[in-house]
Amino acid sequence: MGDAVFSVFGSSHVLPNKKSLCNTVLWGRFTRQLNKIVPTHRMEGRRDGLLFWLISLIVLSGAWRVVLPLNSAAWWPYVILIFTSVGFQEATRLMFWKLYKRLEVILDAFAEEKFRSRLSWTDKMQIALAGGLGHGVAHAVFFCVSLLTPSFGPATYFVDRCSRIPFFLVSAIISLVFVIIHTFSMIIAFNGYADGRKVDQVVVPVVHILAAVMTLMNLAPGGCSIGVPLLCCVGAITMYYCWQMVWRKLTEHGRRQRNASEIHIS
């Protein structure tokens, strides 16, 4: 059976029967966050991020409610759906960035006053991370929470077109992948906007659309056994790209500091 509604934002969602993988994923993320001693501005960044994204998703779903459910056999209406949703979310990301820029001024002033230093680039990255995590968590909540109740029942469910993997498991894996993608995309995007690198700015929406469209593969019979691993690869690629970027920034920053200190010394 098609999962039209669930693939509105480009993912077919699944939780494993009884043992909720989605839950463990979310818990993993939360423990990760809680273990950081998060300064106030990062915590706020994450909270605001989550709320912001939830609201954007709700607005989007409200707008699309008029047209849905799409009882169509062809795949192209879903593509339109995905493109508009992703476009809206990216526009929201831009708005979020603009908002953040304004906030940054305030935060900088606050930091000067309190800690006698401005926000370092790692701080800014961490804020971006928090924002991305908020986006990812919003996404997961939006799609997975309603599936928690049936997943705790005695039965599981296998979709016709994906008859080897239980529906709930596929849903959980896709949610996990999207949390990863969103989290790291935010870091890449903020860096792209801050440094003005066009490549970074373009990569983020492209990856998002790619991942979203990739879930359309689940609509084909047996497609989920190709689609889901591919999606995991996309997630891994995003993580890798982000790591590459951070490493570049690290080395760049390290070189600059060394040059500065050399100038200082000499």
């Binding site: 039209a4 463990t24 169509s72 049936p150 599981t156 500091q257």
Partner: protein, 704 residues
């Protein structure tokens, strides 16, 4: 490098999704998903019943639901490797139950049984879960091994410690498909299971069931016409009993209808009393209770009195029936008129002094006063070749009375044309009368009667007391023929020794469309009990008729019982309507009527209730061994005056919450644990990765 990979993926997606996606069956919400995950299966349970000596039927072994994979048993000798829900056709049920009682290991592997439905019982072999001689203990003769029910297997009276459900036709294909899918999946990765909810708690709740109906023509000496309206089955909700009891009921109702058009009934010598008993399948409860009430002279049998009379000549006691003529009775002051059956010359003597009736009674020493004509199974009397109906009279009791009745039946058959309806005597090799309500009457050794059946020596019904005893097992023409025979015989019998008015006799015709309509109303779901003729009288609570008798829900006060079931209320209203003297259409009512002789017919219909002069009563039908005291039922000891009570098992039901059957899919538990471990592993791994990355970054940044 990453960008190249991304491009590659984009292209592959476009390629894959170009294939058209087949028409979606979309799930739009989580409740939709749950509905698809859990399919409720419409089915009929075999429930547990209790009696004095133990229990019968089926139930879950404990207090929990039973969940087991659906497996099809191909050979009856096959072994099961794990507890499963067995799917099998009806033909194999008997052999399965026999194997269960012998093979304990096999019995442990059976978690539940699902029986496939069979729309048309066109089988040559019959299926009857009742015994070979149903309710043999009640027979008035000693030979209890005579096989009245040749197809009987007796499986209904055993106890099974697992749930058994009969699938409805719609559910059949669903469950068969699931069983096939399970067979293709040997390693149990994905299993389709059935969840049985047939938890039955054991306590005695209340006794068995509700109401009989009796009605009569305006008073005269008694000829009782009797039929029964209930049946039993292995699957309680499918107790139709088309041939075993309802064919007789429909014949009775049709005969009443035919007689109601005769004008000179009031001039006949005898009183016709029509009785419809229920609870007969569970120990002849209706007939026994009726006879007990008759003995006690309760209000239920008001208008129909019976007194035991000692007479001067020896110690024989008889029943002698007194009656009230409508309109003349006042409370406490009963006027006796002459029981003018055979002996008009006794009239003056009985007027003088009722206690001197002894003398009068002495002269009618050799005669019984209640003659009973029971209409048994009459749905299969039609001979396909000649299209003539043949019925058999099984006689019991005083032979002079039965001789008169047989002569009347023969004359009736002659008047109908012996090519159309034949009447024959039952086989002389029979030990006595077949299982019937007459057995209860014959215990009062002064009644005599005939059971009219469509078989001579053993049941022609191959599906006695089973769910397959449905309209395809009977023939409306046969029932109409029986009704005609009965109606005319009653007219002849009731004329007594008067000359029979041949004009009136030949004008008694049976309405065949009424028979067909009643078959549709009482034996099928379309139109079921919402058919026109039923809705004229009552507002039915259920559309599908079911003739399982059920348990008593309130105290046995019987004038206007609220808990009488739909069929009883319909029969009551129908009989009251047809036997009423004056059809007063202006007097609308909703409950009681003004005069004590009037009853309100059609009280439940909106504004169509009318008061008519008729004597139609409900009589409770529960075991004579039970009495209601202080709002609780008690079992009373065996009474010597109630010989049938000593063999009465006293049936009751156990408690249950809900009964249901649903199917869903589960994954084997190894995979469950595997996925949980993987999830926990990912959590732990991401935690460690976070810590390590943080430490690494902190170190690198600090170093700079």
């Amino acid at each position: 490098m990453a960008l190249k990979l991304l491009l590659f993926f984009a292209l592959s997606i476009l390629f894959v999704t170009r294939r058209s996606i087949a028409g979606p069956d979309t799930l739009e919400s989580v409740p939709d998903l749950q509905r698809v995950m859990y399919q409720n299966i419409k089915s009929y349970p075999c429930v547990r019943l209790l009696n004095l000596s133990g229990e019968i039927g089926c139930s879950n072994p404990g207090l929990r639901k039973v969940v087991a994979p659906i497996v099809r048993l191909n050979h009856s000798d096959e072994d099961l490797s794990y507890p499963s829900a067995i799917l099998l056709p009806l033909e194999k049920l008997e052999s399965l139950f026999q194997r269960v009682s012998k093979d304990v290991d096999f019995a442990h592997k059976i978690a539940g049984v699902l029986v496939e439905s069979d729309e048309y019982p066109s089988k040559s072999t019959g299926f009857s879960p009742a015994e070979k001689f149903p309710q043999a203990a009640f027979a008035p003769y000693k030979n209890h091994s005579y096989e009245w029910n040749a197809d009987g297997s007796g499986i209904m009276l055993n106890h099974y410690n697992f749930p058994v459900f009969l699938l409805s036709p719609q559910a059949n294909s669903i469950v068969q498909e699931l069983a096939d899918k399970n067979a293709e999946e040997p390693d149990l990765y994905k299993v389709h299971v059935a969840e049985f909810d047939l938890v039955m708690q054991g306590s005695v709740w209340s006794s068995l069931p509700p109401i009989n109906v009796s009605s009569k023509e305006p008073p005269k000496p008694i000829i009782m016409v009797v039929a029964s309206q209930d049946s039993a089955s292995l699957f309680r909700d499918l107790s139709l009993g088309a041939e075993s009891s309802i064919s007789g009921l429909i014949a009775l109702l049709t005969a009443v209808d035919a007689l109601s058009y005769v004008n000179d009934l009031t001039e006949l010598k005898k009183q016709l009393v029509f009785m419809v008993f229920t609870g007969e399948a569970w120990g002849y409860l209706g007939s026994r209770k009726f006879l007990q009430e008759l003995d006690m002279g309760t209000a239920a049998v008001n208008g129909l009195d019976s007194t035991m009379i000692d007479q001067e000549f020896g110690n024989v006691s008889l029943y002698h029936v007194f009656f009230n003529i409508g309109g003349e009775s006042q409370s406490g002051n009963i006027t006796y008129h002459c029981p003018a059956d055979f002996h008009v010359n006794l009239c003056f003597q009985c007027f003088e002094n009722q206690s001197r009736l002894a003398r009068a009674v002495g002269k009618i020493l050799n005669f019984t006063s209640i003659a009973v004509l029971e209409i048994g199974s009459v749905g299969k009397g039609l001979d396909q070749g000649t299209s003539a109906a043949t019925f058999y009279a099984h006689a019991g009791g005083n032979s002079s009375v039965t001789k008169d009745m047989l002569e009347a039946l023969q004359s009736a058959s002659d008047s109908l044309g012996t090519d159309n309806v034949k009447i024959k005597m039952a086989d002389a090799s029979n030990p006595g009368i077949p299982p019937s309500s007459l057995m209860a009457f014959l215990r009062k050794n002064t009644t005599a009667g005939i059971v009219l059946e469509d078989f001579g020596s053993s049941f022609s019904n191959k599906f006695y007391h089973s769910h397959l005893d449905n309209p395809s097992n009977i023939n409306a023409t046969s029932i109409a023929a029986a009704a005609a025979l009965v109606a005319r015989s009653l007219y002849i019998l009731a004329s007594g020794d008067m000359q029979v008015n041949l004009m009136s006799l030949n004008s008694i015709k049976v309405n065949v469309s009424l028979v067909e309509e009643l078959v549709g109303c009482l034996l099928s779901c379309e139109p079921g009990l919402s058919c026109g003729i039923v809705k004229n009288f009552i507002s039915p609570s259920n559309n599908c008729p079911n003739h399982y008798v059920g348990v008593f829900l309130d105290s046995p006060d019987t004038q206007y019982p609220e808990y009488a079931d739909d069929v009883s209320r319909f029969v009551w209203n129908f009989l009251a309507n047809k036997t009423s003297l004056v059809k007063d259409s202006t007097n609308s009512c909703t409950g009681k009527c003004d005069s004590v002789d009037e009853v309100c017919v059609g009280a439940e219909t909106d504004g169509n209730g009318r008061c008519v002069v008729s004597t139609t009563r409900y009589v409770p039908a529960y075991s004579t061994r039970l009495e209601l005291k202080d709002n609780a039922w008690h079992v009373i000891h065996v009474n010597s005056s109630d010989p049938m009570g000593s063999v009465d098992p006293i049936w009751t039901e156990s408690f249950w919450n809900t009964i249901g059957l649903r199917v869903y899919t589960v994954q084997s538990s190894t995979y469950d644990w595997l996925i949980l471990t993987a999830g926990v592993g990912i959590t732990v791994a991401s935690y460690i990765a976070t810590i390590m990355t943080k430490a690494f970054l902190a170190k690198t940044v600090k170093n700079d």
